[in-house]
């Protein structure tokens, strides 16, 4: 039996003395970080992916495993980088909203109205809703939805109290639901189902 691969935190700890130990973290997490960034800023994700890992490497000595795990830590760095490109992010959402507002698919049976209330039908309004959120609220919401971080992890990577995360998420989700209006068959918000 081969030895188990070292964990993320162990690799970071080792990399403080032996920087080469950091490289496998890229292979483990690059896809997830890029996907998170890509959903937020599109093609710019290519650049920000690189920046995320460079910053993480430079700050590896300051990483505290008891504070947050490595993947959330990386997503936090990525989120901070997105701050420098807020307009790119908003422009992307608006463009997606406009594109989704193009004429509906032809030939749908009127009786299939319920089926049209599927996720695809909500793409445009959802993108528009994201564009309208305050950046800090959007960070919290997207770390939860796309980063799949818990409330405590979001608080850790954004360096705010958990209560602040709750209020930001409440506001973001309320506004998102309001923007979707009557077209969304959303269930009530439930913190227990949030991951």
């Amino acid at each position: 039996m081969p030895d188990a691969l070292p964990g993320d935190a162990e690799l970071i700890a080792r990399s403080v003395d032996d920087p080469a130990e950091f490289a496998p973290l890229f292979d483990r997490h690059a896809s997830a970080v890029h996907r998170y960034l890509g959903r937020r800023v599109g093609e710019l994700a290519d650049d920000l992916l690189s920046e995320t890992f460079l910053i993480a490497f430079r700050r590896r000595a300051a990483y505290r495993p008891e504070h947050v795990e490595v993947r959330p830590w990386l997503l936090g760095i990525a989120t901070n980088l997105v701050h420098g490109h807020r307009r790119t992010e908003q422009r992307r959402y608006r463009a997606l909203a406009r594109a989704a507002a193009e004429p509906d698919r032809p030939g749908d049976d009127p009786g299939d109205a319920a089926d049209r209330l599927d996720a695809a039908a909500l793409r445009g309004p959802l993108a528009a809703a994201l564009a309208g959120l305050k950046p800090r609220d959007r960070d919290a919401l997207l770390l939860l939805a796309w980063g799949q971080l818990g409330y405590e992890e979001i608080a850790a990577v954004l360096d705010v109290p958990v209560g602040t995360v709750r209020s930001r998420l409440h506001r973001a989700r309320r506004l998102t639901r309001a923007a979707l209006g009557d077209i969304s068959p959303l269930d009530p918000i439930s913190e227990e189902e949030d991951r």
């Binding site: 403080v16 496998p24 292979d27 599109g42």
Partner: protein, 355 residues
């Protein structure tokens, strides 16, 4: 449906992580790991090998890494047809041109939207942003940056328009260390106005240009005369388009039908140019000999490389060409195996660079 589920299922999707982007990000990290003291030698790069449905992390960064291939990386060898192609331009020029400053353009397939004019030291200069929408805030988000402090707001005249110039300071990261950024206070000036209908132009000055009068002068010298891209290719595969160009010296094209298939032309910094005799040993995944070829009448080096994907038993390969322009400036063309050797050289002959 929960709203989080909705965000996951109907929210914006991410573009695929291309092999080129992944490799570039990984190479940048490995350079950083090498350390600044080693960065000026020819790059030591890692072969990134890819197999299907197997994910593991290498025990050491020098070892091969196996990750899942997202999808096939394009049509087969010999499928490329090169056609005339030119990189879109930046829509504005400065008349008179600012003395001692040179532009570098950033943009995408729709054209350049950013022109950064800097002096040789990078201390003095300004950036021009062009877009359809009014920018929000000051300094492209600088009003949310650490240590942001507004210093002055001056009204200046631009033709019939009265426009505000905001001068501010912010913390600027001059060195990123293990303990975080070492910052200094840096001064900027910001000017933004709707120059034409649906054409918003913003200027961000630094150094000597962090000044209302200087920016007013720059704004007054803007004319509607497109500037050609500093790096152009002249030829490109039919059905491909620009994914991005950066800093006026990195250009990425992608196959519209197979986004994972792309090619990159870039001008390496002088310290990153690989000595002609060491190209093969300095690049990622060489699988063929270093071929001595000629581009622009000058010696060039061409190497067949393993680009890292194995899909359905097929190992995808590519080309790495280091060549020079007639003035001796080095450029690199990395192309997928869909190119023949002759097409790589044909395309390289048409690359131009006018910084």
């Amino acid at each position: 449906m929960n709203d989080l589920t909705l965000l996951r299922e109907a929210g914006p999707e991410a573009p695929p992580l291309s092999l080129a982007a992944r490799s570039a990000a990984r190479a940048a990290l490995l350079d950083e790991i090498d350390g600044p003291g080693l960065r000026r030698r020819p790059r030591r790069r890692v072969v990134v090998r890819v197999g299907l449905a197997t994910v593991t992390a290498a025990a050491a960064w020098t070892a091969a890494v196996v990750v899942a291939a997202p999808h096939p990386v394009g049509p087969p060898p010999g499928s490329v047809r090169l056609v005339d192609f030119h990189v879109p331009t930046f829509p504005l020029s400065l008349d008179p041109a600012p003395e001692g400053l040179r532009p570098a353009f950033d943009g995408n397939g729709d054209g350049a939207s950013i022109a950064a004019y800097d002096d040789a030291s990078g201390q003095d200069g300004f950036t021009i942003y062009v877009g359809d929408d009014a920018p929000e805030g000051t300094g492209h988000g600088d009003d949310g940056a650490p240590g942001y402090q507004e210093l002055d707001v001056d009204g200046v005249s631009l033709g019939d328009d009265e426009v505000e110039v905001v001068t501010y300071e912010r913390d600027w990261c001059v060195e990123d260390t293990d303990q975080g950024c070492v910052t200094e206070r840096r001064r900027f000036a910001w000017l933004s106005w709707e120059r034409h209908d649906d054409q918003w132009v913003s200027l961000l000055g630094h150094g000597e240009y962090a000044d209302a009068e200087q920016l007013q002068e720059v704004a007054g010298s803007l004319v509607d005369r497109p500037q050609p891209a500093t790096l152009d290719v002249g030829l490109a595969p039919e059905g491909w388009s620009i994914r991005a160009y950066k800093m006026g010296r990195v250009l990425t094209l992608a196959n519209d039908a197979h986004e994972a298939q792309d090619l990159t032309v870039h001008i390496p910094l002088p310290e990153d140019v690989i000595p002609a005799g060491q190209v093969r040993e300095s690049i990622s995944g060489p699988i063929g000999p270093q071929l001595d070829v000629t581009v622009n009448g000058r010696p060039a080096q061409l190497v067949r490389v393993d680009i890292g994907y194995v899909v359905d038993g097929h190992r995808y390969e590519g080309w790495y060409l280091q060549a020079q322009f007639e003035d001796g400036t080095t450029f690199v063309l990395q192309a997928p195996e869909a190119f023949t050797k002759e097409q790589v050289l044909q395309m390289a002959e048409q690359v131009t660079y006018h910084p």
